[in-house]
Structure formats: C-alpha cells, structure tokens
C-alpha cells in the first residue's frame, strides 16, 4: 500500500532552499558558459580567417580591428557622443510613440463604433514601410533631432496601438459583467480592469518597440545627420572602413540590449503579481 500523502513542510528548511538555489544557479551558469564558449569560438575563427588573408580582412574586418576602433571611439569621445544622441532619439521616439499609441489603443476600447471606423486606417498606416517616409520627414522636420524622433515615433506608434487595443478587447467579458454587478461605471471598468489587464500586452509591445524605435532613429540618421550611431555606420560604410561599421554596430546592439533590459526592469516593478509565476 502506498499512501501518497505529501508531508512536505510548507517552508523547506534553509539548507534545502539553499541547495535548490545552488542547483538553479548552476544550470544558469552552464547556459552562460556555453553561450560564452560559442561566442569565443566564433570570434577566434573570424580572427584566424582574416589574419591570414588581407582581402578577407578588408571585406570582413576582424575582432581585433573592431576592438581597436572601439578603443579609438572611446578615446576621441565619439562613442559617448554618438551613443547618447542615438539613445536620446530612440528614447524620445519610444516614449512619444508608445504614449500616443497606447492612449489611442486603450481608448478605442470605449467605443466599438469608433474602433470599427478606425480599423482600416490603422491597417493602412501600419503597412507603410517607415523608410519610405524618411525623405518627407526630413523635409518637414529638418535634419536635426526632431526628424529622428519623428521617424522613431512613427516606427513605434502603430505597434503600440495594436498591441494595447488587443489587450483591451481581450479582457474576459465575465470579468466586465462582474464589475458591472458590483456597480462599476464604464470609466471604473476601464480604469480598474481594462487598463491593468492590458499591461501584459502593453509591455510585450514595449519590448518589441525598443528595437523599432532604435531602427527608426538609425534610419533617420542614415538619411541625413551629422552625428549619431547611424551616421557613424553610414560614414564608415561609404569609406569602406568595415571594422568601424562593425564597431558602431556592436555599440548599437549594446544600446538595444540596455534599453530592453530597462523595460524588463520597469515591467517587474509595475507588475509585482507576476514575479512569482
């Protein structure tokens, strides 16, 4: 006879918890070590392949040359300047685009009529490749910061609108009925149920749009600018300084990772109930 009664205490002893934490840490460590090994192997192969062949080195750059350019960019201050400019454009576009998009997306929940009227226009706007708008944007907003922020905003706004609207209309109708039987007004349903329930989708949108905002800013810089990471990439590319293109790309990737990390941090701060899931 096997009495399968679980007598595990609610709070395992400290040593057991520590052991579990240690084994989880070891699993994470194994993943990190493997990732690092793959990266090192790739870089080593790249370095090896390009060091023996001048033409290859010219075409593909090499990790050491990229590193050299990174050091040089740090020394002459262009790394910090370009990164901060592109970062500022990206952040402004990200905030403005998400703010407007989320506001419209959520408020479309209020009226089935308005959302049906607006739907084809949203789809039409969403299908425009933003790059195609770049020349007009430069004409309208000039070659400074504003045109890049506008590009970045445009790349973000439709995605933010669609994801937040999807979140808002995805709220369980039973939950809305419950709020109504508790006497909630439409605005109370919106504020106490629809907005927080949409947070998951809104944050999924935020994570997605970090990249879009950065692409918008960089495309704007490609078109016309005197600084920023996009400008650095464009200039190095047209001068055939390929390692410098890669160096600027590495910085761009680092910027994207940093911004995504920030969004994740804010998400965990704003949605504490999801931490333990």
């Amino acid at each position: 006879m096997t009495a399968d009664v679980d007598h595990a205490p609610a709070h395992p002893p400290a040593s057991q918890a520590a052991r579990r934490r240690w084994s989880r840490f070891r699993a994470t460590l194994a993943v990190l070590a493997t990732q690092l090994a793959i990266l090192v192997a790739l870089l080593a192969f790249w370095e090896q392949a390009t060091s023996s062949n001048k033409a290859f080195a010219f075409m593909f750059g090499s990790p050491s040359a990229i590193g050299g350019f990174l050091v040089q960019m740090v020394r002459d201050g262009s790394l910090w300047r370009d990164t901060s400019i592109t970062g500022l454009e990206t952040l402004l576009g990200f905030f403005v685009g998400n703010f407007i998009g989320t506001l419209i997306g959520l408020s479309l929940w209020y009226s089935r009529f308005v959302s049906r009227v607006v739907e084809p226009f949203v789809i039409a706007l969403g299908s425009i490749p933003i790059i195609a708008l770049a020349p007009i944007i430069i004409i309208w907003f000039g070659t400074g910061l504003v045109s890049k922020v506008a590009m970045s905003t445009l790349s973000v706004v439709i995605v933010a609108l669609v994801t937040s609207y999807k979140g808002a209309v995805g709220v369980d109708p039973d939950q809305i009925n419950l709020m109504r039987t508790l006497g909630a007004s439409k605005f109370q349903v919106f504020r106490m149920l629809v907005v927080p329930a949409s947070l998951t989708d809104i944050f999924a949108g935020l994570k997605l749009t970090v990249g879009f905002a950065l692409i918008g800013a960089i495309v704007g810089e490609f078109m016309s600018s005197s600084d920023g990471l996009g400008h650095a990439i464009f200039k190095a590319g047209s001068l055939y300084v390929i390692p410098k293109v890669f160096a600027a790309l590495v910085v761009t990737i680092a910027l994207a990772l940093f911004l995504t990390f920030l969004v994740g941090k804010i998400e965990r701060l704003l949605m504490p109930w999801r931490r333990r899931l």
Binding site: D172, D174, Q175, N177, R180, L182, W273, L277
Partner: protein, 272 residues
C-alpha cells in the same frame, strides 16, 4: 390625480407583500447568424426572503442566461422581473453575483480583490479594508489577505471570490455553479460556510448548479428546468428537518437520496 396616488399606494403595498424576486413569463432568445435560437421559453419563479433555492437543469439549458438576465446584464425579450415588487432598469441593488470562475484580478491581493465592490461604491478606504479583512477572516483566510491570487489554491481563491461577494452585504446571492471546479472536500467546507453565512445574515440565495446532491443538500426548494427552450419542469420543497448547517450530515438522511433520485429522473438524462 387620485388614480396616480392610488396606483403608487398599491405598488408600495405590493412591494411589502411580494416576494423578494418574482420572475414572470420571461423569455429570451439569441440571434445566431440570423437564426433565432430560443433559450428561455417561458419561465416563472419566485425567491422569498431568507430562502435558499437551487436551480438544476440539463446541460446547456440556459441557466447562465437566466442568471445574467436576473442581474440585469441581459434584457429579456418578454416577461417581467421584479425585485422587491419593482422592475429594475440595469443592475438591481444589493445583489451579489458569483460564477464558477473566481474572476479574481491577478494584480490585486486577496484583500484588494475583496474590497473591489466597496471601492467601486466609494466606501472610505480604511473602512473598506477593515470590513474586507473581517470577511476574509470569517471565511478562514486569516493571514492570506496580502497574497496574490496566483499563490492561492483553487478553494482559497473561490473563498476570496465569496468574500468579495459577501462583503457588500447583499440581500440576495446569485451563484452560478460556484463550487463546480473544486475538489469534494473543499466543496463541502465552502458549502457549509456559505450556508452558515447566508442563514445567519438572513440573506437569500439562488444557486444554479449541475450537482443534484449539492442542490438538495443546500436548498429549501429545488427548481428543475427543462431542456431548451427552458421552462420550469418541477419544483421540490426540500424537507430534511433541522437547521441543516452540516452538508455531510444532510447527505446521510434517507429522504436526501429520495429527492436526489426523483430530480435525477426529472432531468431525463439519456445514458449512453
């Protein structure tokens, strides 16, 4: 002029004498892709003050439609629904509503979920919190007020949902299979607590359920519904004697199984 006053007087008198809830010849149908599907045929029933009534019926007989109609979430095609002798537009006052799904908001703690109704009605935060804590304590959730729903068991979550309903001190509870998803032990315990709180607070309860044993053990009266379009098929006054606070003890009485068998026969379930 006098006629108007007289009419108002008769209405007031009716409000005093009429049962808490009167449903008269209610019909409701849905439009499914241009095809009219009658769900409720012609339904009349009453719920008196302090009474517990169970409603059972075959699957898909429109029990949930009935409940949503009573709550004012759906408008009947014809017929009348009177609360305290009056027809109500929109949501009736002092009616608590609870479904099989606990519908707890995951971003609110047990306490936050419980005080939702009080917050909506603008009760002062401190008072709302005190009342909600007291209600959670009464339902055996002392110490879990600050837990998020994702960390609670199914039975505990349903208790929080019950606390959310009861903290508003409704005169009437409308429950739609509230315990159907729970295991047998949790179910009996929460049934006991529900009945105790309803009887002690002199509230009324309408319980919609699939579970005939649950229907008989809890209720003063069981209403059996027919297949769609739904109408009342039979009504049983359940007389099992005594206070009936213990849902396990009730099940041991020989009359209990007699009721269950008769209702089962009424439901006319085809065994395959």
């Amino acid at each position: 002029m006098t006629a108007g006053i007289e009419a108002a007087a008769t209405q007031a008198a009716a409000a005093l004498t009429e049962p808490l809830l009167v449903v008269e010849h209610v019909a409701k149908s849905y439009d499914l892709n241009g095809q009219i599907v009658p769900v409720i045929g012609d339904l009349s029933l009453t719920l008196r003050e302090g009474e517990i009534v169970s409603i059972v019926g075959p699957s898909g007989c429109g029990k949930t439609t009935l409940l949503n109609t009573l709550c004012g979430l759906l408008v009947p095609d014809s017929g009348h629904i009177r609360w305290h002798g009056r027809e109500v537009l929109g949501q009736p006052q002092n009616v608590g509503y609870m479904l099989q799904k606990d519908l707890l908001l995951p971003w609110r703690t047990a306490l936050g979920n419980t005080l939702l109704g009080l917050q909506i009605r603008g009760v002062a935060p401190a008072e709302a919190e005190d009342r909600s804590r007291a209600m959670l304590d009464q339902l055996g959730l002392h110490g879990f007020a600050d837990h998020y729903p994702s960390t609670l068991s199914g039975g505990m979550r349903q208790r929080v949902a019950l606390a959310r309903t009861l903290v508003n001190e409704p005169d009437v509870l409308l429950l739609d299979e509230p315990f159907a998803a729970l295991d047998f032990q949790s179910k009996l315990l929460i049934e006991n607590d529900t009945v105790a709180l309803v009887r002690r607070g002199k509230r009324s309860l309408m319980l919609i359920t699939h579970d005939i044993e649950e229907a008989v053990s809890l209720a003063d009266r069981v209403i059996v519904l027919s297949k769609r379009p739904t109408r009342v098929k039979a009504v049983y006054d359940i007389e099992l004697g005594g206070e009936r606070m213990d849902m396990m003890a009730v099940r041991e009485s020989p009359d209990f199984s007699r009721y269950v068998r008769r209702i089962w026969a009424d439901l006319d379930v085809v065994l395959q």
